[in-house]
């Protein structure tokens, strides 16, 4: 129980904080001032932020602290123990290890879209922007990490006097906080400073992940070991081999160094196939069915071109893939694109496999639009959920963003793939154009449906590390870490879409996933935050060159150091169960807990997360007690006890008569 020791440590750590906080307000006995119905909206926003992002490292220690105060004697429920700010003084900004304050600006007004103006102090560090209101008793805290900022805009602030400047931070996570401040002579302009640290790569600075010095007891970089993962899948076997062809990334610079390819193919053939596939992304195995040997194979589009080029090696390659699965004499290719787009790609030297050149191959188009459509859809979504929500036309506004429709297309596509493998026992090849966006979404979702291992907390991390990170989803370009070019057309919320699909599945199968909603939100928050190295850069090769593993901390270190916060207490291990989500739009919902979480009115009516966590502890506690008693029982009575029906000695009627 080393966890408990850690918890005790955290509780001790919270002690001094508590004192420091309560002194100015005049000696609060048990810190129960917050339980009084203050009802002020500021309190609200703070609570809200605490509730929704209490996983975020950057979040003020205030909510964490509150929790410690609220429940001084509740078991040993640790608040987030790791990654929270270590020291905190009155009116001082909680800092992460390695974080430094850049500037502090007084008399700043936060223009809250829900409650009006809030006066306070703004602090900018190299990781975050931290605003506290002047109120002593229950200060309003706004904490925005700089990585989440998409662009900075100056806005006009009428009626606030001369010299007042307005600033809007347009964020990637569906909010746009606004501030008004007085420009001061001699001080560096806060906008410049923000821009410098929000977009470090554009200003020749390092990302904050390289400055972050937190020590976690668990090393998240060890979560994914490709060889071990392939071994778990029963690889290598007689048909598939683990190849080191790409160990120095010369075969394909966006693929990982370890690939699984068919055994019966020569190195030269592989190289010829690489030339025929866009970006040299040859067909490689992602997942194999342990029983039928049907495989999910991913690749990029074939470079067919307008003249319908052929590549004998490529055709043979797919034939071998088909032959590797004895259960089926067919191979299904899922092209994620819209068929019309696939055709136009031919003119751009791309294209799709012709069924006449590839015998026994069935080609399906999944009709999923491209990254630009997705980006636009999410942009519309932001208009719908922030800052105001139109009550009367909420549903039609959601319809008009088409976001759920694209979620449906993705889930339906993944379900088709999973069904092909599971029911059809047929191997599938999945590709889109380059094989790193829609392909990744589809293969990872299909694997999530097929393999219960990926539904565990650790397994999901492996899935993300494998399908997304190592296979070169271009996080750097899609998210734009530290880059100020917000209009870059390469940006697109594909990973957000994937997590949304996962969330939809957790809604339909609430007991099938070991992780909870908070975990998914945490992953998305740190997709942008640049605090961890996990999602930085676009390929394994690049990451190796930047020494990400040695110089940054993995997000999984943070998560796995406190798994109880991210665990679903209702998880049941459905081993070998295939999940088939319903994909009609009637069964999909908008993930308001993520998209609309900044609206204080969207608070959950019951504190879900804390409750879940407590349940987890309760369960563990009861379990332990039963085991103790059982041990005691077996030691006392050597003879097995009689078939004792659970008769209730103290049977108080449950439903008392009313």
């Amino acid at each position: 129980m080393e966890k408990q020791a850690g918890a005790a440590g955290a509780a001790d750590g919270a002690g001094p904080n508590r004192k420091l906080w309560s002194t100015p307000t005049g000696g609060l006995a048990a810190g129960d001032n917050l339980d009084s119905p203050t009802g002020s909206h500021v309190e609200w926003c703070k609570q809200l932020i605490a509730a929704t992002i209490n996983s975020q490292i950057g979040v003020s220690s205030v909510p964490v602290d509150n929790k410690a105060r609220r429940r001084p004697d509740f078991m040993n429920l640790p608040a987030l123990r790791y990654g929270s700010q270590a020291t905190m003084f009155q009116n001082q900004v909680p800092l992460l290890p390695g974080e430094t304050v850049q500037t502090t600006v007084k008399d700043v007004m936060y223009i809250c879209p829900f409650s009006g103006l809030v006066n306070g102090t703004l602090t900018v560090t190299d990781y975050k922007l931290y605003f506290t209101s002047l109120e002593r008793e229950s200060p309003f805290v706004l904490d925005v990490n700089l990585g989440v900022i998409s662009r900075l805009e100056t806005i006009s602030v009428p009626n606030q006097g001369e010299n007042t400047k307005g600033l809007e931070l347009v964020c990637k996570d569906m909010r746009s906080p606004r501030f008004a401040y007085k420009a001061q002579e001699g001080h560096p302009d806060v906008v410049e400073l923000l821009a410098k640290h929000a977009f470090p790569l554009s200003h020749s600075l390092r990302l904050f992940a390289f400055l972050y010095e937190e020590q976690f007891p668990v090393d998240g970089w060890k979560v994914y070991d490709p060889t071990a993962e392939y071994r778990r899948l029963g690889l290598p076997n007689e048909s598939w081999t683990i190849s080191k062809l790409n160990s120095s990334y010369e075969l394909c610079d966006t693929y990982p160094s370890i690939l699984v390819i068919p055994t019966h193919i020569t190195e030269d053939d592989v190289r010829r196939v690489a030339v025929f596939r866009a970006k040299h992304r040859i067909p490689v195995l992602s997942w194999i069915h342990p029983e039928t040997q049907a495989a999910i194979v991913r690749c990029s589009q074939p470079l067919v071109g307008p003249s319908d080029r052929r590549c004998k090696e490529d055709e043979r390659f797919l034939q071998i893939i088909m032959d590797a699965n004895a259960q089926s004499h067919k191979l299904t290719i899922f092209d994620a694109r819209q068929s019309s787009v696939a055709v136009t790609n031919k003119a751009k030297d791309g294209g799709y496999e012709s069924e006449s050149f590839y015998p026994n191959v069935e080609l399906n188009f999944l009709e999923i639009p491209n990254i630009h459509v997705m980006r636009e859809s999410l942009r519309k979504m932001k208009d719908v959920v922030y800052p105001t929500i139109d009550e009367a036309h909420w549903h039609s506004a959601i319809d008009q963003t088409h976001w759920l429709e694209y979620i449906r297309l993705l889930l339906a596509g993944a379900a088709k793939i999973a069904d092909k493998l599971e029911s059809g026992k047929t191997s599938v090849v999945v590709h889109c154009s380059d094989g790193w966006d829609r392909t990744t979404q589809l293969t990872s979702l299909a694997m999530l449906m097929l393999d219960s291992h990926y539904r565990t907390l650790r397994g999901f991390q492996v899935l993300v590390e494998k399908e997304w990170v190592s296979f070169g989803h271009r996080f750097a370009a899609r998210v734009g870490h530290g880059d100020e070019n917000h209009a870059n057309s390469e940006r697109s919320p594909l990973f957000v879409q994937f997590i949304d699909c996962v969330w939809q599945m957790t809604r339909q199968f609430p007991a099938a996933f070991e992780f909870n909603e908070l975990f998914l939100i945490t992953v998305l928050d740190h997709l942008y935050s640049c605090l961890f190295g996990t999602f930085l850069y676009s390929s394994e090769q690049e990451r190796a060159a930047k020494e990400v593993q040695s110089d940054t901390v993995s997000l999984w270190s943070y998560v796995n150091s406190q798994p109880e916060d991210f665990t679903n207490p209702f998880y049941v291990d459905y081993e070998h169960h295939v999940l088939c989500p319903l994909v009609s739009s009637r069964h999909l919902e908008l993930w308001t807990a993520y998209y609309a979480r900044w609206n204080p009115r969207m608070r959950p009516q019951v504190p879900v997360h804390q409750t879940l966590k407590e349940l987890l502890f309760l369960r563990a506690d009861l379990q332990r007690r039963v085991e103790d008693l059982q041990r005691e029982a077996s030691s006392r009575s050597s003879s097995s006890f009689s078939e004792h029906s659970p008769s209730h000695t103290a049977g108080t009627p449950l439903h008392s008569a009313v």
Binding site: P37, A392, S584, V606, L622, T649
Partner: protein, 834 residues
């Protein structure tokens, strides 16, 4: 009968069979079993049956399908799964089995053949052998049967014809014959007459019932008046009404004429902070007000609160019955996904179409109005009178919603039943006309009660841990509305109910199926069963699902005592001029001169009333009360729930969030029939037991085990048990909202309420299913501790969720379904995360 038609011929052919069976049945026993396992009601006879039929299961039932025998009797379409346990012949009759549907619930019969679908009417003839039979029900269920290749074609066609002929395409007479079919037999009447009514709930039929409620609410200053005992004052009001103590019956009698239908202001409920909730109809303006009348009227209206009265006008912002009917019609059309007309909404328009039904707008409007009223009542010591033109529709909705929000008692099953009894059945909601069982009054039809159920569901989904009843209960009630069998819904007011039961002895013959009146000494005893007689309608395991296995935290005070006056807002209203009356309309308070008709018109009278003019001074105070909910403040929900250790005020109203994203669609009700939801071969249900319940069950199992282990080791269990129980109490206090308040002990049958034995699916499954093992519904209930206890420790997983004993028997299959808990149908759609 239409002679000569093909169908008639068929039916006629069957007749000897029926006759024979009826004879054989009556010869043996009243409650007999068909040879194929259908347990008939007394007097019920099987008209037709088909073997080897598969029934599609909805997501709620676990998905996939189950195979068995399909029956059509003259009362229901019944389905008996293959390996269903042999029913106990001596058990009380249950009207409908788990897979059955009453003929009166069926709205449409559709058959699907090769490449075609056809609507089957009593007169239609089939030119193909159906492969699938789809029954569209009025309660939005869609029940789908698949005929196997092994089902004899003749049986398929005949049962289709029989169902099409026997189900009731709503004619005035058909309801009576349906009732007769269900309850008309001598044995059934005997059985019904011997039934005792539920004593755990308040029926609000007699004066003592009302007195009990007054006592429960701690409402002093009120008395029960029997002035309407013979329905002479008001035909639609109940016999007993609650009026201020200081008003004498003689004075009261003069008030009736001043209100529409004589529905004078009556007390409904008292908020623990001392505010009273009243209902009344609108004023009759064309009556001359005498001096004394006015004094009486004001006394009646102000009740025992001398200070302040707020009249809440319900007509303005709430939907009219016609609106509700239209919206519900649209919602039905949208939800059912009717294959016979193949009208389906494209996926990308689903939400827009849903919005355009306005159903959610109407639920929101009702909840908003109720929240306003709840906030007013919370202010303490004022009287809130709900006024509606006839006081029989939206007043029922709002007054009962207010009580559900504010009174934890109303969130228990029995409390809720009492509430419906008080605010709907006895208050004279026109169930009979609004439901329109006879289809002879389309103009009046409006599912007001269903709108109310939806509102309650919205509250439930936002505060699942504050309810003792479950959405399963709401769903059962929803379905029962469509069954024209219950006295609760077959009349428009108490008078009609009484009239019928009194007339019964003379003019009604047993043909009508009504129980003889002589058996009951109480004349108001309904001749038809009450809807609250759940054991008549549903099997035990369905009923077990009506309540949360883990009840919400009990109120701190055992009773509402009217003295819970801790509200800081009170002083703002304390200086109120006595006798001020305000009108709340569209969220704004006003004191129009002509609000009380006797005031505006003749100022002379008004001066003599010894009350001062209503000033607008108090308006800000009142508005502040409202603001607490309506404006940008979020005081209560947060403070009461965020501090899990702080004392939770059980009477804080559950104020719902009404923004677009927060109003959900009751998918378990409206979308359960959607055919695409009945997808095949999904091994795991998308719907799981309420997570809370799952955990509760698990905890219960652990506890049982604990108890067992301790009893088996220690002959003196109390000391042993004491320790864990104490710890539990601790834990309970620390969990939020009492969501997870675990009872120290509960009967084992309750611990696994969802775990109903279901028939195993047959081996003739699709590829998919055989490879994955049988669908989840087959898994048996988790046994409580004792089974795996013998194994010592047991593996952790098994231990946690209870092992499916059947799984061991199926080890030959590589994949066997994981513990069945998760598949037991019960879902908690949006509640946990939203």
């Amino acid at each position: 009968m239409l002679t000569g038609s093909k169908t008639t011929f068929k039916v006629r052919q069957m007749l000897p069979d029926i006759k024979e069976r009826m004879l054989s049945q009556s010869g043996v026993a009243a409650r007999s079993r068909d040879v194929f396992g259908l347990r008939c009601l007394p007097g019920e006879c099987v008209l037709q049956r088909a073997i080897m039929v598969r029934k599609k299961l909805t997501a709620r039932e676990g998905r996939g399908w189950v195979s068995g025998t399909l029956f059509c009797t003259h009362f229901r379409v019944a389905f008996v799964p293959q390996d269903s346990p042999k029913p106990d012949d001596n058990a009380d009759p249950v009207l409908l089995g788990d897979y059955d549907v009453a003929l009166a619930s069926i709205e449409k019969v559709v058959v699907v053949g090769p490449n075609r679908t056809k609507l089957v009417t009593p007169n239609s003839s089939l030119k193909f052998t159906p492969e699938e039979l789809v029954l569209y029900c009025k309660d939005l269920r869609v029940i789908c049967f698949l005929f196997d290749r092994l089902t004899p074609d003749a049986q398929v066609i005949e049962i289709t014809y029989t169902i099409a002929k026997t189900y009731q395409p709503l004619k005035p007479g058909s309801v009576l014959s349906f009732q007769n079919a269900a309850l008309g037999s001598v044995e059934m009447k005997q059985f019904l007459s011997n039934r005792r009514r539920n004593t755990h709930m308040n029926w609000f039929e007699s004066a003592s019932d009302w007195e009990q409620e007054l006592e429960r609410c701690g409402a002093t200053g009120w008395r029960v008046s029997s002035v309407n005992d013979r329905f002479e004052m008001s035909t639609s009001l109940p016999r007993s009404i609650v009026v201020p103590q200081k008003v004498l019956d003689t004075e009261l009698k003069k008030s009736f004429a001043h209100f529409n239908e004589g529905r004078i202001p009556r007390w409904c409920w008292r908020h623990p902070r001392g505010s009273d909730l009243l209902r009344m109809a609108s004023f009759q303006n064309n009556i001359y007000h005498e001096k004394d009348d006015i004094r009486n009227l004001e006394m009646v209206l102000f009740g025992c609160q001398s200070s302040l009265c707020v009249v809440v006008e319900l007509g303005e912002e709430l939907p009219s019955p016609a609106d509700i009917q239209l919206a519900h019609g649209r919602l039905r059309a949208l939800s059912l996904g009717d294959i016979s007309t193949s009208v389906s909404v494209p996926d990308d328009k689903w939400l827009s179409t849903l919005e355009s039904t306005h159903w959610l707008d109407y639920t929101r409007a009702c909840l908003r109005k109720a929240s306003e009223v709840a906030c007013l009542l919370r202010g303490g010591h004022l009287t809130v009178a709900l006024q509606e033109a006839d006081d029989r529709d939206m007043a029922c909705v709002v007054s009962s919603l207010v009580q559900v929000m504010c009174d934890p008692h109303c969130r228990t099953q029995h409390g809720f039943q009492s509430l419906v009894q008080k605010e709907w059945v006895m208050a004279g909601h026109r169930f009979y006309s609004r439901i329109n069982y006879h289809r002879d009054n389309d103009k009046e039809e409006a599912p007001v009660f269903l709108l109310f159920l939806d509102c309650v569901w919205q509250l439930f989904s936002q505060y699942p841990s504050r309810f003792q009843l479950t959405d399963d209960f709401l769903l059962a009630l929803h379905d029962s509305i469509h069954l024209p069998l219950f006295s609760s819904f077959l009349a428009n007011c108490q008078r009609e109910r009484c009239k019928r039961s009194q007339n019964l002895g003379q003019s009604y013959t047993p043909v009508n199926g009504w129980r003889d009146v002589e058996s009951s000494s109480d004349p108001s005893d309904p001749p038809l069963p009450s809807v609250w007689d759940w054991s008549l309608q549903y099997s035990k395991h369905r009923r077990d699902r009506f309540t949360q296995p883990v009840p919400p935290i009990p109120p701190l005070q055992p009773l509402l005592n009217g003295n819970l006056n801790t509200n800081p807002d009170t002083h703002r209203l304390a200086d109120t001029i006595p006798g001020s009356v305000f009108l709340l309309s569209r969220g704004i308070f006003s004191c129009p001169a002509n609000l009380l008709p006797w005031r505006g018109g003749s100022s002379g009278v008004y001066k003599k009333s010894h009350r001062r003019a209503a000033s607008s001074e108090n308006v800000p105070g009142l508005e502040r009360l409202l603001k607490a909910w309506a404006l940008a403040e979020f005081p209560q929900g947060l403070t009461s729930t965020a501090g899990p250790q702080g004392p939770l005020d059980p009477y804080e109203p559950l104020l719902p969030l009404l923004m677009g994203p927060c109003m959900g669609l009751w998918k378990e009700c409206y979308l359960r029939g959607a055919l695409h939801a009945q997808a095949f071969s999904h091994p795991i249900s998308a719907n799981h037991p309420h997570p809370v319940e799952l955990l509760a069950r698990e905890v219960q199992q652990l506890k049982d085990k604990l108890a067992q282990v301790s009893t088996s080791t220690d002959p003196s269990p109390p000391t042993k048990l004491a320790e864990p129980r104490r710890a539990d109490t601790n834990l309970n206090q620390n969990t939020n909202n009492g969501t997870f308040l675990f009872p120290a002990s509960r009967p084992p049958s309750m611990a696994a309420p969802r775990a109903a034995p279901r028939a195993a699916p047959p081996p003739t499954s699709t590829n998919h299913q055989t490879s994955r093992g049988p669908p989840p519904a087959s898994a048996p209930p988790p046994r409580l501790g004792h089974k795996d206890n013998s194994g010592g420790g047991g593996n952790k997983h098994t231990f946690l969720f209870g092992p499916p004993p059947v799984a061991e028997a199926r080890l030959d299959q590589r994949y066997y379904p994981a513990p069945n808990n998760a598949k037991l149908p019960k879902s908690n759609g949006s509640s946990i995360a939203s």
